[in-house]
Each structure stands twice: as structure tokens, then as C-alpha cells.
């Protein structure tokens, strides 16, 4: 019963995901902000610490929390390395601090009484048994000063209010009425790449520079200089496994493939093998290892696409028919989205009679590629596989290979996307491609970064994919490409693109759709990346800015600023550690000049109300001296649809000088 008598309460702890059901995601080596509401009856002064430790460790570390406003407390700790951590909070009534606060008020009102000083002396004396001899001696001197009627009252009060008293006494605090938060919150510290990454997708089949030749994994090696020259650090390949031969789709997704049609890489499995084999036309396992080694040399991560579905000739179909759904005639159920039928793909049945076998086999596919050194996976359509499977699989793999990153390719309903992230995906595709109006972008990215979503869902923004070519890109021309590039690259710290198509602004769609015409999914393309209209230099520039500016390497500080023109979007990001602040202005109209007056949230920019400051456009060039919240912005989309301003205040310049 004693435990329920304590006066202090801890509530609304952050980070905490879905009421503590899932771990919160943070980055190893970076400070984690801890927040809680801490309450007590009456008006006592409270104290609180966050307690944290690596999961499995015996000892807890403590970091102090401080009261911000309205019973909300905060502090931070830095998980030193990858892995799981535990977090909880202790809070208690600080009787000595309460007495000092009241003494200060009474001293200001000149109503201090003898008994007030004796009350404080008793509080300090109660601490002496826990003190070292030296501390005890000094505290006794302070108590003597407090209680000596021969001294001036102000001298005695000063002894009670001295910093020394609290410095010596605080470590001895008996933590009256101390309570512990009723949950231990789990936190997973991921590698920096999970929080800041730049993805480039290409089809190895099109990597050859020879005409009419099927590209190979070796050809991809020759592309690495091009990819890394633009500042990408993840190279993502669509599935590299044998492509089904039965019911293979032809060019433009027609039902029957011609004899030379290469088929879709997502129709996985044939007589040449399944998810742990390599498509013969792409090369061998030796070629794969050579590519992996070349990626390592180039400092780029090789990301594989894992799509848990099977072509009709995948070995699983004959070896494990029980993993698929049987139709009344004994045939296997192909994928359907009625009335559409996908006879080239057999979905796995997670209501199988052999869940152990299926789950272990699917996990073993990851294990196979992990053993080959792959640490980044783009997972195809995870929302059509059991959520319970993902939780089991990703939890296990992330404990054994904590440097692994799983990107969820789930373009589905919002709550299902969030659920997948909670179940363990480290990165998630977003609705970015379909958020185009100012209010849509503001609402969506505010939800992603300024609510508890930020604790479990890491957005990865893509302006295009092999499946998505929006009408914006089809008709918006270069201004739209540059606009969408800047938005993707600066709204979220993780972003990527279906590279060759984006950099060359390939915009031909199947009429009336948002799908590429002559989609590379069903045929081999030749990309001449040296064409003069290429965006490669623009892409390289925005990626250099991202790499140089810590503000763009995180999501939590995103702040939208008001500007009195619905075609202008204005937002900032900042980095507390370095003091770096970036302010981005984007003209959402690809056709016309747009101008407007800003109404800046100066706090978010680290600028004082009356301070002059400089904004230097890292993207289009130019430096402007601004002051106050109201400033003029104008953007001609054909020249540059965006400013990417570095915000320089007097104090940041000062910092720069000091750092030299």
C-alpha cells in the first residue's frame, strides 16, 4: 500500500510509442530529448531524473530533468552506441529546494522569522549522516551560520540561499516521496544512416553502356562514380533474383511476354532459383560480391529489394504449396485486386497451416543477404504481409544486426503505414509525391515531425519511383523537377529518387495515368546520363548542402513559417548542437514569379526580436540582410524555384570565428 501513497505523479512520457507497446527510434550518439509531465499536490518544489541504461545492463545512468512550463519537464541523454535502451523516470519532492524558494520570497518581503531558519537547518542536518566527513563539516558550518543569532539576518539568509549549500546537499537528497514512472520505455538507437540518407534507385538491367545489351551487376560498378558524384549514399537495386518465366509480363505490363521481354524483377523465382539466387542475366554471386565490395570502396550502401511474393515457377510453389492459398480446383491462387488479376504473382498465405516454416524461411532470406554484408533493405509491399510476422522478424534481426535498415514500401492507408513503422521498419516511404499544395505539405509534415509520429516513423520522401510519375512531373517541366527535388531533400532528412528517370526528367506517362510509359519494370532502357539537360549538377548541389548542414540531417526541428502567398512555402530546420539553421523558401508555382512577405517565427531561427541577421542562399546564391519577422521573398521558377538560406546571426558568426 505504501507505494500508492506517494504524492508525485509522472505522466505523458516521451518518447513512448503506442502506450509503451513498441520501442521509440533514436540515433546512436545523438541527444535524445526526454519529456514528462510531473505533478504533485500543493506547491512543493519537485526534482526529477531520467534513468536509462542499455537493455540488459545492470546499472542505470541518471540525467536531470528540468521544469519547462505547465508541469512539463525535459532533459536529454545520449545513447553511446547502437542497440536497445531502457528509460524510466524518477521524481520526488525536494524539501530543501521548497524551503529555499520560500525563504527567498520571505527575505524579499522582509518577513523571515527565526523559526524559518531553524526549519532549514533541520533539513540540512537530516542529510549529514549520508555526507562524507568533509562535506559534513562544511554543511555544519553553513547550519551554524543559519542558526547563529549573533549574525546579521542577511548573513544567515545568505547562508541558506547559497549555491554552495545546494551543491553540497543535492547529492545527499533523500528523494522524499520518490516515485518511478510505471513503465520502462524501450528505445532503439539506430545508426546515423537511418536518420539521414540519400537514396538512388537504378535497374541493373539497364546499366550497360552497350546498346541492346542486358546490363549486369558488373555494369553497375561502372555507374558508382556517377552515383556518388551526385552525393548519394544508398544505391538501391530492384530485385536481383531470377525472374519468373511462367505468365511473364511483357513490355508495358501486357499479359503475355514476347520471347525477348525480360519481365518484371518483382515476379520472383524460376528454375534458376528464388530469393537467395541471382538472375542469371545479371551475373553470379561472385559478381554480386564484387559489386558489394565496390560499393564499400565508394562509401555507398548497397540496398536490396526484398519482395515476399513468388512467380508461378518459384521453387517454393512446388516445395511448399502449403504456403499458398489453394483454389477449389487445387490450383494456387494468384494475386487479385478485383476485377484485376495478376497471374504472374502468387502471394504468400500468412494463414498457412505451417507458419513456423514460412516465417523461418522468409527470415532466412534476410539472413542470407545479411551474411553477404548487405545492411539496407527496401521491403516491397510489407502491408500485404502479416504485421505480426514483421514484428517478430525485424525485432530478431535488428537485435542480431543492429546496423540494418529496413525501408517500408507501403503506399497504403496512414494508420497501416504507422503500424508497420511501429513493428520495426526504420524508414518509410511517404505520401510526399501526392502532397503538392501548401496546406497539404504543411499539414502532412507537421504530423510527421511535430507529433509523436516522429518517435517511430522515419519519413523517406521520393519525388518519383518506377511506379509513380505524377502529373506534376509530367507537365511541370524543369521548374517542377527542381521544386520537388528541393522539397524532398529538405523537408525530410531521408530522401531518394528513381535516379536516371529523375535526373534526365523522363516524363512520358501512359495517357491519363501517373505511370511511366514504356516502364523500365518491363524492359531494358538505355540512359544517357551525359545529356545536357541533366539535373545532375542541381542534384549534386542540393546533396552537398545537405551533407554540409546538420540542420538538414534531422526532422524534429521542422517549422513552417507564414508567408502571405499560397504559392510560397517557407520552412526552417535547425541543429541544436552546431547551431546550424536553414530556411527554405519554395515557389510551388512552376510557371510564374511569386512574391510575398514573410512572417518569420524568429525563435525557431534563433534570432532575437530586434536582431539584424543575414540569409545566404546556398542554392541560388545571394545574401540578404533581414531584420524582424517581415521580409520580402520573390522567386522566378525558371531561374530557381527555391531559396535554401543559411541563417547567420551575430552569434552564429561569433561561433564560426571561435571554431576557426
Amino acid at each position: 500500500m505504501k507505494a500508492t501513497r506517494q504524492r508525485v505523479v509522472v505522466r505523458s512520457v516521451r518518447p513512448e510509442v503506442a502506450g509503451g507497446r513498441f520501442p521509440a527510434k533514436v540515433i546512436a550518439g545523438r541527444p535524445v530529448e526526454v519529456r514528462a509531465d510531473i505533478l504533485c499536490d500543493s506547491h512543493d518544489v519537485l526534482a526529477a531524473v531520467a534513468r536509462w541504461r542499455p537493455a540488459g545492463a545492470k546499472r542505470w545512468f541518471e540525467t536531470p530533468l528540468a521544469l519547462d512550463v505547465n508541469d512539463s519537464w525535459s532533459g536529454s541523454f545520449t545513447p553511446p552506441e547502437l542497440g536497445r535502451y531502457q528509460l524510466t523516470i524518477d521524481a520526488w519532492v525536494d524539501h530543501l529546494a521548497t524551503w529555499r524558494r520560500d525563504l527567498r520570497k520571505k527575505a524579499e518581503a522582509e518577513v523571515v522569522e527565526e523559526l524559518d531558519l531553524r526549519t532549514g537547518a533541520e533539513l540540512v542536518e537530516a542529510l549529514l549522516p549520508q555526507a562524507s566527513a568533509a562535506v559534513s563539516r562544511r554543511l555544519e558550518q553553513l547550519v551554524a551560520a543559519l542558526t547563529d543569532p549573533g549574525l546579521e539576518l542577511t548573513t544567515r539568509v545568505d547562508a541558506g540561499l547559497s549555491d554552495e549549500l545546494i551543491d553540497l546537499a543535492a547529492p545527499l537528497d533523500p528523494r522524499h516521496e520518490s516515485v518511478r514512472y510505471d513503465r520502462v520505455v524501450e528505445i532503439v538507437a539506430e545508426r546515423p544512416l537511418a536518420g539521414f540518407s540519400t537514396w538512388y534507385e537504378l535497374f541493373p538491367r539497364s546499366a550497360s553502356t552497350e546498346p541492346d545489351t542486358h546490363g549486369t551487376l558488373r555494369d553497375v560498378i561502372d555507374r558508382l562514380d556517377h552515383v556518388t558524384s551526385m552525393g548519394f549514399d544508398v544505391l538501391y537495386l530492384p530485385p536481383i533474383h531470377p525472374i519468373g518465366e511462367q505468365h511473364r509480363k511483357g513490355r508495358n505490363n501486357v499479359v503475355n511476354a514476347g520471347p525477348d521481354d525480360p519481365g518484371s524483377p518483382w515476379a520472383i523465382g524460376s528454375r534458376h532459383g528464388g530469393h537467395t539466387s541471382i538472375h542469371p542475366e545479371l551475373g553470379t554471386m561472385e559478381d554480386f560480391r564484387a559489386l558489394k565490395a565496390a560499393c564499400d570502396e565508394h562509401g555507398v550502401e548497397l540496398a536490396l529489394d526484398i519482395a515476399f511474393q513468388c512467380a508461378p515457377d518459384h521453387p517454393y510453389v512446388t516445395e511448399h504449396p502449403e504456403w499458398f492459398k489453394e483454389r477449389p480446383d487445387g490450383s494456387i491462387q494468384y494475386a487479385e485486386n478485383p476485377p484485376k488479376k495478376y497471374q504472374d504473382i502468387y502471394p504468400l498465405n500468412f494463414e498457412t497451416s505451417d507458419p513456423d516454416g514460412l516465417w523461418n524461411e522468409l527470415r532466412s532470406i534476410f539472413e542470407f543477404w545479411l551474411a553477404e554484408g548487405v545492411r539496407v533493405f527496401r521491403v516491397d509491399n510489407p502491408h500485404t504481409k502479416s504485421l505480426a510476422f514483421w514484428q517478430w522478424c525485424l525485432d530478431d534481426l535488428s537485435r542480431r544486426y543492429p546496423d540494418t535498415i529496413f525501408l517500408a514500401e507501403a503506399f497504403t492507408r496512414p494508420k497501416l503505414m504507422y503500424e508497420l513503422a511501429m513493428r520495426g521498419f526504420n524508414n518509410s516511404y511517404t505520401y510526399f509525391t501526392w502532397r503538392r499544395h501548401k496546406w497539404e505539405i504543411e499539414a502532412y509534415y507537421t504530423e510527421l515531425t511535430q507529433t509523436d509520429v516522429v518517435d517511430f516513423f522515419r519519413p523517406n520522401s521520393w519525388p518519383n519511383t518506377p511506379d509513380i510519375l505524377t502529373d506534376q512531373l509530367q507537365y511541370g517541366g524543369r521548374p517542377m523537377y527542381v521544386q520537388r527535388l528541393v522539397l524532398a531533400a529538405t523537408l525530410t532528412a531521408n530522401y531518394g529518387m528513381y535516379g536516371p528517370a529523375f535526373e534526365l526528367m523522363w516524363s512520358e506517362a501512359r495517357p491519363g495515368s501517373e505511370e511511366y510509359l514504356d516502364n523500365e519494370k518491363y524492359e531494358i532502357k538505355r540512359w544517357d546520363v551525359d545529356q545536357p539537360h541533366s539535373l545532375r549538377e542541381v542534384i549534386a548541389l542540393i546533396n552537398r548542402i545537405r551533407h554540409a548542414h546538420p540542420a538538414l540531417q534531422q526532422d524534429r526541428t521542422l517549422t513552417f513559417h507564414h508567408v502571405d502567398n499560397d504559392q510560397l512555402l517557407l520552412y526552417s530546420k535547425s541543429d541544436e548542437v552546431s547551431g546550424d539553421v536553414i530556411l527554405v523558401a519554395v515557389n510551388l508555382d512552376p510557371h510564374h514569379v511569386q512574391a510575398g512577405m514573410t512572417w518569420l517565427d524568429l525563435d525557431a531561427l534563433g534570432v532575437a526580436d530586434d536582431e539584424e541577421f543575414e540569409v545566404h542562399d546556398l542554392f541560388a546564391g545571394g545574401t540578404y540582410r533581414w531584420s524582424g519577422g517581415e521580409n520580402y521573398v520573390e522567386l522566378e521558377p525558371h531561374i530557381s524555384p527555391a531559396h535554401v538560406f543559411e541563417v547567420r546571426t551575430h552569434s552564429t558568426e561569433h561561433d564560426h570565428e571561435r571554431n576557426r
Copy 2:
């Protein structure tokens, strides 16, 4: 391991308070809306039920949930009587419904195949073993129709899509992959008075009609006709216990009382007794019982004020010095808010060495008055007593006396007010008196009624109390009194007033403060309630409207509507069961006519987009024919600062006719 393999997930259940740590509050006999996010991988059709039962019962009842939008499901159940209930949710994959949805799509696209029909037949056949003989026979006939190649395809499809099939099959549903929500949510069903009440506060000391005479509890009996004639159903008395004689405060809260000063009723306890005794000048326990009986006859609840604090001469001080804080000289610590001192009040020390004794004694005070039939308590300053104590005390008492209502008088920080409500207070005072601008009222009452706060915190709005006379009422005149009356009475279903002072518009404050001059807390007043300027008829009118209109007897449907004038506030409330809809327009400016165009949320009013409707002003009279969202409103505050419109649509008129 099996349990974790299920595909369906239940999240974000409502009502659920603080992650299931406290019961949610509902009203017995009224429908409780249950909400949850229910998710599954892929695109299967799901089904779900809410399961509920009285706590301690063996059998669960089930009520179906339906998908609204975006994976959010809802339904409702009605707890039949007072007490605790348990709620959880079951959800599963509905294979038959999934098959029917797909069959319908295929039929529309005319691509139904033989195998599609056979798949459905197998699903139905699997249910037959659970069916009664009659149901089984009919289902077999439907299966025969489905699978008979001699019939027309449309006939066969119709058999599969027939309502009869689903009506017969649904009760047999094996609930594939069924999951249960991982918590059992506790709900407490309270009496209707907890959700809809109208409070009148008076000091019995001033109840006498004789000049210079101390009023008694018997005098209060004579006031009951007056109180009930205005439509109040709770009569709340400040503490009726013996008033301390040591350090008694004089008129206007001066430190030393004169010989005839009656002292503050909140300085409780003297040689005449403590919290279970009656102040001799008010009468005896027999008088109290007579008053209680008279209240019962008048249909008004008698509410007592329980203030857990002691005058220096309270019996506890000598009998239980361990329940108080001792100062270094052995004296007892009086209340302080440095530099202010309250020598007439000793706070109880919840860090006492005898918590068992203190907690039991305090609870016994409630038990004493509960035994006298009192069921409504206004609890003074609960935020200066241990939260853990309240949880223990209120939980226990509410189980033994489930018809009891505790109103928390805590004007403190918002999170502490919410915490007290979670710990068991059924009603709570609010910041109403300090919310005066349109944006403040909209923001505050939206938080109270449109967030999860509504599940545990029942706001009780008071325009004045003996402690609070805002400058608005000091200087706003009659228009302001009427405005604040209408706001309090229609924003929340629970409201109250410090009656005589309010109805007579007593507005004299201590200069520069929001406190009454010559406060009744420290002296006896004589209220001539028959003065011609009395608001009694206006109060009676608004209370009649409240009693006649179920829309005003609840808080959850509060909706603010746009009107293009910051001095005009516009909001509606509705009642789903009766169809009653009330729309309130208030001119917040007590001095000038204000007019504006509305932008009504027609959905909230139950009005179709193109429908003409009538708004009938129940308060100031007048009927207007409106259509669409844009209508004109104009209010002259000296005539009426408010419209209280009944919204009448063609359909509601129809209902009225039908009900005659």
C-alpha cells in the same frame, strides 16, 4: 507463439483514460460511443465487436462495430445502471464478406469465373457444422444455387450476394484470426446528475429574513422555493461545521476578528467539534436532517462543502498532532503562500507518520455525511491534498455509494486539474470565469469537449464564486451578467453560481482585485431577492430551456461555428437520441450592437445543404427562416446579448408531429 501470429490489430480505443490507468466516465442509461482503429495487412474485409459487461459479471455482451473511415471503427452500448463496467474489443478477418465484396466487383466487371463461385460455396459449407438443421438446410440450398452449372450465372451470383446468405451465415462466423484488444478498459457509469446539473450556492448564515440575525439551516428551508423556482437542482452550502475561534479572521479577511465577527466557514473546527459537527449558530443535526428532508421534497440535492483543513482549535490538532507538520519549536505549521501567512488554518500533512489513521479519518467524514443521505460534495482545494489519497478514497466511496458526486474545486494548473478528475472527481470547476475572448472560449471548450479530456473531466462552469468576481462582472453591467449566464448555462451541461450575489448583480469588489468587497465569507449578509433588478426570471428562463432541451444536457456535441465578427460567438449542441439541436449566438461586447454573417457547419445542425430551416429563439423570442450556411445575426446587448435558437428542420417538424 500462436497468439502473436494474428493478423488483425486493435489500437487507439476510446473511451480509454491515460492509457487505461483510470476509468472513463459515462452516464448510466445513455449510449456510450466506442471507437477503435482496427487494422489488418492486405485488403481483407474485417469485422469487430465491442465486448462489455458490468465489472464482476461473468457474461460479456457484444455490440457490433462498423467501419467509418480510414480504419476507424465505431459502435455504441448503453450501460443499464450505475457502477463499473469493463470494455474490450474483438476483431477478425471476415472471409465470407471478403469473398462477397470481390464477387460483387467481378460481377460488375463481368469476369466471374466458375472457381469464384466454388470458392464461396466452400466458405459457406465450412459453416454448416455449426448451423441448426433449418439454417443448414437453407444454406445448402444457397450453396446448391451457387454451384449449379445449369443455372444462369446471374442467378448463381445473386445467391452469393443475397442478404439472406449473410444473415444466416454471419452468426456462424468462425472469426478467423480473431484478436482481442490487449487491455480491458474500465468505465464508470454515473447518475444523470453527474452529467447535467444546475448549482446554486448560498451561505446559510445569511438565510434569515430578520435583520441582524444569524441565519440557520431551518432558514435555508424557507429559501428552497426561491431556489427551485429558478430551476436549480443542487443547493450547495459552504462548510456548516463549527468555525474556529483561535486566530479567527474578521470582516474583509482582517487578521483579528471583532467579538461579533462570524469568521470564515472554511476555518473548520472548534471546541464545538470538527468536520462531522454542525456550527452551533446554524443549528443541530436535527435541523440538518430537516433541511435534507425538505430538499428531498423540493427535488433539489443538498451539496456539502468538504474542506480538509483545520482551525487551530479543531479537535484533530490536540488528538492527532502527528497529522500536522511540526515546526522546530514544537508548534504546528499554519498555511503559507510566502510571504502570505494563514494563521487561522492548519493544513494536513500527507507525509504524516500515520497515513492509515489520517486517510481513514478523512474518508470517515464522507462516510458520516453519506450516512445522513448526502450524495453531492463540493471538495475544497483538493489539489492541496495527496492525489493518491483521492484515488483511494473516491474509488472506495464510489463503489459503495455509486450515486455520489464529488465536485473538485481546484483552480490550479491544467494538468493537475485533469489529474484530479482522473483520480475520481465526477465534476470539476473550470477556467470559465477567465475565458472571455472568442478565441479563448473556443480553444478551451474545444479542448474540454472534443479531445479525450471529455472522457474523464466533466466541466462545471461558474460565472462567479464567493472568491471570484471578475472585472467583467464588476464593470459589464446587466448585459455582461446575462451574457455570462447564457455562456455558463449552454457551453457546459453542468453549471452553477454563487446565487444571491449573481442574481442581484452584486458587483462591488475590493479595488484592484477580483474579490468581493465585504465578502460574505467573513460576515453575514441580507439578500433581498425581491429587488426589481433581480435576474431571477432570466435565470429561470435559461434553466427552463436547459431542462426542456436534451441538446443542452451533454457536452460531447459542442461545435463552434464561424461568424465573421470577433465579438460574436456561435456554437451548437445536439442530442442524437431526440434529434434536438440548439444553436447559441452570444454578443461578447456588453456595450455595442454587434452583427455578422454566419458560416454554419450544417452537418452539426443536422441540416441538408440545400434545406430551408427555421431557428426559433427560445431566449429572446423570434423565429427566422434560414437556408444554407450564410445567415445574418445581430444582437443588441442591452435587450438580449444572446440568441438561444432551437433549430427546426423539415425532418424534425415531422418528428414532432409523429410524436404527438
